[in-house]
Amino acid sequence: MISISGLIGQIFAIALALLLAPVLSGWVGQCRAWFQNRTAPPLLQPYYMLHKLFHKDVVLAHGASSLFRSAPFVVFGCMVLACAIIPALSTDLPLAPAADALALVGVFGLARVFISLAAMDVGTSFGTLGGRREMLVGFLAEPALLMVIFTLAMIAQSTSVTTIVETLAHREFLVFPSLAFAGIAFTMVSLAENARVPVDNPATHLELTMIHEAMILEYSGRHLALIEWAASLKLYAYSCLGLALFFPWGIAEGERFSGLLLAIPMLVLKLAIGGFLLAGIETINAKLRIFRAPEFLGTAFMLAVLGLLVRLMLEGSA
C-alpha cells in the first residue's frame, strides 16, 4: 500500500535529486580547483550552465534523425528514474519494489545504449569514436558492477536495493572483508561510468582521449542541457548508491517524517565528503591511456569477484 508519507518521501527524493545533482557536480569541480591551486568556480556554476543552455537555440546536424532528438529525454528520464529508486533518504518508498539492483543496472545500460546510438547517429567521426569507447567501458564495467551487487545480494539474500540497505544498516558484522573488496571495486566502476579520471576526464576536450565529451559534441541548447543534467544526476545516483550500500547510516526507515528530515542533512554531509574524496582521487591520479582502461576495469572486476569469493569462504553461513 502506498502511504501518504511514502508518496511525499518519493516526490521529495526526486526533487532533491534534481536539485542536488548539479550542486554535487559543482562541489566536485570546486574541490578539484582547490586541490590544484586554481580559483574555484562558484558552487552553483552548473546551474548557470543549465540556465544558459536552456535559453539557447537548438542547432541540429543535417543528418540527425528522431533518435538524436529523443535521446537526451530518454537519458534524462533514465537518470531520474534511477535516482528515484535508489534509497538515498528513506527505504520506505513506493517505488521500492521496482528498486531491484539488476533493474538499476539495466536502467543505466539503457541510457548508455541511447546516448551511444545518438552519438553515432549524426555520422561524425568523433561521435562514432566516443560511442564505441563508451560501449567498451560499459561492456567492462557492467560485469564488475553486477559482481559487486551479487556480493551484496548474498549478504542480504535479496537483490532488492532497499532490502540490501536495510540489512546492511542492521548488520552485526563490523568488518566485512568482502564489503571492502566490493567497495573498492564499486568506486573504480563509478569512476569509469561517470567519465572521471583516471578513465576519462570531464574537463577536457582533447580528441584522442575523451570518451563522454566526444559523444555529445553535436548537441546544443536544451538537448545539451538535459544531457549535462543527466550526467550530474548519474554522478549523484552512483554516489547515493555507494553511500547507501557501504555507509547506510542515517537513512530513514519506516514511515516517520522526522527520520526523513534527519536523513537530509546526513545525506548532504555524506555527499559533501564523498565529493571531496572524489576530487582528491581525480587530482592524485593521472588519466590512463585509453588502452589501459580495460586493465583498470579488469582489476575492478577481479576485486569484485574476490569479494564474492571471500564472502563465500570467510563469511559463509555454515
Partner: protein, 222 residues
C-alpha cells in the same frame, strides 16, 4: 550463522583478505621497488593477524611469532631486498613480457581452486580462524603463479618469500601456530635462504650481465 563470529575473528578475516589482496597486487605489480614494498605490507598484515590471534586465544608463543614476522618479513627482508636492488641497480627493471590481465584471470581461477580444496577442511576446523586456511592456500598458489610468470630474479624471490607468508598464515590460522622450535627453524631457513640468494644475485649478474632469468635457458635436454 555468520553473525555469531566474534569481533576478533572478523579482524583476522579482514587481515587475511588484505593479505590475499596484496598477493594479487604483487601479481599485478610491474616495478621491482613497489613489489618489495607490497611484500613488506603483506608481512605487516601477517604480523597483525598473528597478533590478533595471539590476543584472542592467549597463546603466548604467538606473540613471539608475530614479533619474528614483523622483524623478519616486514623489516629485515624488505630492507635487504631494497639494498640489493639499489646495489644491483635494477631499480627500474620493469617487467615487459607478461600479460597482466591474463595472469589475473588465472589467479582468480587459482583462488577458486584453493577455496574448493580447502573447503572440506575449513568445515572441520574448530578454530576461530577457519576460513583463513583457504585464503592461505590461495596466497601460496598466487605466489607460485608469480614465480612462474616472472622473468626477473628478484620478483621470483619475492614470490618465493610471499609463498612463505602464505604458509605462515596457514600455520597460524589452521593451528594457532606450529611449535616454537619449528617456527624458529623455518624463520632461520628463510633468512639464510634469502641471504644465499642475495649472494647469488651478484654472481648471476656477473655471469649473465642481467638478472633476467630468460638468459638461463641453456641447460636443456636434447
Amino acid at each position: 550463522m555468520s553473525a555469531t563470529i566474534s569481533f576478533s575473528a572478523q579482524l583476522i578475516n579482514l587481515f587475511a583478505a588484505l593479505i590475499l589482496l596484496l598477493a594479487f597486487a604483487m601479481l599485478a605489480q610491474r616495478r621491482v621497488m613497489q613489489l618489495i614494498n607490497l611484500f613488506a605490507y603483506q608481512g605487516l598484515a601477517l604480523c597483525l593477524s598473528t597478533l590478533v590471534v595471539a590476543v584472542s586465544t592467549g597463546q603466548t608463543h604467538l606473540y613471539w611469532s608475530a614479533g619474528l614476522t614483523l622483524l623478519l618479513k616486514a623489516l629485515l627482508l624488505p630492507w635487504i631486498l631494497h639494498r640489493l636492488v639499489r646495489r644491483l641497480q635494477v631499480k627500474w627493471d620493469v617487467e615487459s613480457l607478461i600479460n597482466i590481465p591474463t595472469t589475473m584471470l588465472v589467479g582468480i581461477g587459482l583462488v577458486i581452486v584453493a577455496f574448493n580444496v580447502a573447503h572440506p577442511i575449513s568445515e572441520l576446523s574448530s578454530t576461530i580462524t577457519r576460513g583463513t586456511l583457504a585464503i592461505a592456500l590461495a596466497v601460496v598458489m598466487l605466489a607460485f603463479l608469480m614465480m612462474i610468470t616472472r622473468t626477473k630474479a628478484i620478483p621470483q624471490v619475492v614470490g618465493f618469500l610471499a609463498m612463505e607468508n602464505g604458509l605462515f598464515l596457514a600455520a597460524t590460522s589452521a593451528t594457532y601456530g606450529m611449535p616454537m622450535v619449528v617456527e624458529l627453524g623455518i624463520a632461520l631457513d628463510v633468512l639464510v635462504g634469502a641471504i644465499i640468494l642475495g649472494v647469488f644475485f651478484f654472481q648471476i649478474r656477473e655471469q649473465f650481465d642481467s638478472l633476467d632469468i630468460r638468459h638461463m635457458e641453456r641447460l636443456k635436454d636434447n
